[in-house]
Symmetry: C2
Subunit: 331 residues, 2 copies
DNA sequence: ATTCTTTAAGTAACCGGTTACTTAAACCCT
DNA sequence: AGGGTTTAAGTAACCGGTTACTTAAAGAAT
């Protein structure tokens, strides 16, 4: 491997000069600069990122921790984070915490040891308090933790309300909400939105809880359709669970959307893969990832943003959701 | 941040002794060892991974490059790679090359600069020749590149044959294969398997090409059903494309599987999410990822395996595929 | 002509570990 | 008692960059 010393020797200058040319700082003459650049090209020299990191304590890496890489929502999010990060010269290290608090903590430790410049976390942990005092920027994405944390979320509460409203408008008489796990802010908020709306409008409803995965959703759906045959409008807390409910309904021959209407949440591209297509409360997934990434980089580089302690709002970025009308609700 | 010097000072020993305790090598007395360990715990010292990497030229990181993180096949694969890697104390850096050769090369460069210990690549590049002489282990996963490269793939050829055979057995008279992009070994092999089988059995068939994504699949499907209304057995080169064909068929009211039977490839968990469930030629995705990861680590640590130049077979690990009978083919 | 400022470039310390080399004490043996 | 081996632990070089500090030459100002 070619080092800066090799380049310096060949170019007849000191390592400091080579370093100055590379970093475009300090005083370097035209001549020296030309020769060094020429030599670098000739020798195909690439500065060693690890050595630089050791001295500068910065790595141009951003850690992204997601709870479940197999839920298509997160790859879509990761994709956006990565696109923006790449644009600014950062590498994203994607870690799958597997909804395991310990594994998550191990990752945070490992990443910090590697001098990642920032962290974007879709943490499974309900309170990130342990992390908030760290000396690197942390963005909470799709999760709400400590209020001092810069946060990017969709308007889950409003999404919950919209789902309930939409079902009511489409004539559903007996609503159901399959809520996500308690303690996960997004799930809690969707539930709260749904609940507020059905209460305000005095609608008949029932709530069940289900983790954000397919198999549990299918199991619950089977039981659910037995127990609540009268339910004609189901709002699932994410698209994967909605897909599970849709599948079981179709299997049983329950006519969708005529007898049963179904709404998911997320708007993963996956919902378009099935037929009938899923009606869903879509989050602006790409925008969320991109914003989180941009904010993280701003915090890394500017160390400031407009996040004065006076203005808590500036920590909290809430993006609007929007209904995507598929075929699992009436026209 | 606590450094090894701080620990050494507090424990009244030299940094060498602390290092020896940490790495459990060299001569350290019982007493010294005890004191150092105690001090480490008290000060909550964690050795700096970057400094260690700089000297040892090893990072305990494995780079994993996938072409499309949004195709569920790859997260599933990544999951397996990561599980095994974690088990052995390695961190996986997941990179999305976006099917872009240049982006892929940039990632390889960046990863090597970070002293990753090994690379697992599901490369979009048909020949990895550029990479094969690198001084770190490289595993080709789900792709075939240079024959000197350790390779983990499913038996795609056999899968192609099986799909054709299955469709024939289920009574399809006019077969179609929607093959993946030319130049991608897995797609080529599936195509070859299909072709050999239909030729041997003198079956009526047609072939179309489609990239491994949903939207192109849907567009192609629309055209396909117009052009080949007689086709009654479609074998798609992956599950995502199969899902696109299924969706368009259902939309048009084509009875599946009675009038049109459909087989995908991959066996992503996704195929179970839809109804009717996809019949598919499943790859042992988890096993493939896990094997690639294990081989990579063996190469890193042992630098040997049984890969003598005499035995090219040992470089080539081909795993069997198996039919998963869903509802898109007749019982 | 002298002093001050700017430009240019080298030397060496530093980042935080690991390890080759060295010194010295302890133990063993004849 | 003297020489050899094993054990213990310190010193300093090293990994490959960056940069503070220093020296020196060129240019500007009085």
């Amino acid at each position: 491997m070619v080092t800066i010393k090799d380049v310096a020797r060949r170019a007849n200058v000191s390592v400091a000069t080579v370093s100055r040319v590379l970093n475009q700082n300090g005083y370097v003459s035209e001549d020296a600069s030309r020769i060094v650049l020429q030599t670098i090209k000739e020798m195909n020299y690439r500065p060693n990122a690890v050595a630089r990191t050791l001295y500068k304590k910065t790595s141009n890496m951003i850690g992204l921790i997601v709870p479940d890489i197999e839920n298509p929502f997160f790859p879509e999010l990761a994709r956006a984070v990565e696109d923006v990060a790449n644009l600014y010269g950062y590498t994203v290290v994607l870690c799958n915490s597997d909804q395991d608090v310990e594994k998550e903590q191990r990752y945070v430790e490992a990443l910090k040891q590697k001098y990642v410049d920032g962290l974007i976390m879709t943490s499974h942990q309900s309170q990130f308090n342990d992390y908030v005092d760290e000396n690197i920027p942390i963005i909470a994405l799709d999760r709400i933790g400590d209020e001092r944390l810069t946060t990017v979320v969709a308007n889950n509460y409003e999404g919950g309300r919209q789902a309930a409203h939409y079902l009511k408008e489409k004539g559903a008489k007996s609503l159901a909400h399959i809520r996500g796990p308690k303690g996960i802010a997004s799930a809690d908020e969707r539930y709260r939105g749904f609940l507020d709306y059905v209460m305000e409008n005095e609608l008949e409803y029932v709530v069940e809880e289900c983790s954000f995965q397919l198999s549990p959703a299918e199991r619950l759906a089977a039981r659910f359709y037995d127990e609540y045959p009268q339910a004609d409008g189901v709002f699932a807390s994410n698209d994967v669970v909605a897909a599970g409910f849709l599948k079981v309904a179709l299997k049983r021959g329950i006519p969708v959307p005529d007898q049963l209407q179904l709404i998911g949440f997320d708007g993963i591209s996956f919902g378009h893969m099935m037929y009938p297509e899923l009606t869903t409360v879509a989050q602006p997934i790409y925008e969320m990832g991109a914003l989180a990434s941009r904010l993280c980089i701003k915090l890394i580089e500017g160390k400031e943003i407009d996040q004065s302690k006076n203005d808590p709002e500036s920590f909290f970025h809430q993006l609007p959701v929007y209904m995507v009308e598929g075929d699992t609700t009436k026209k």
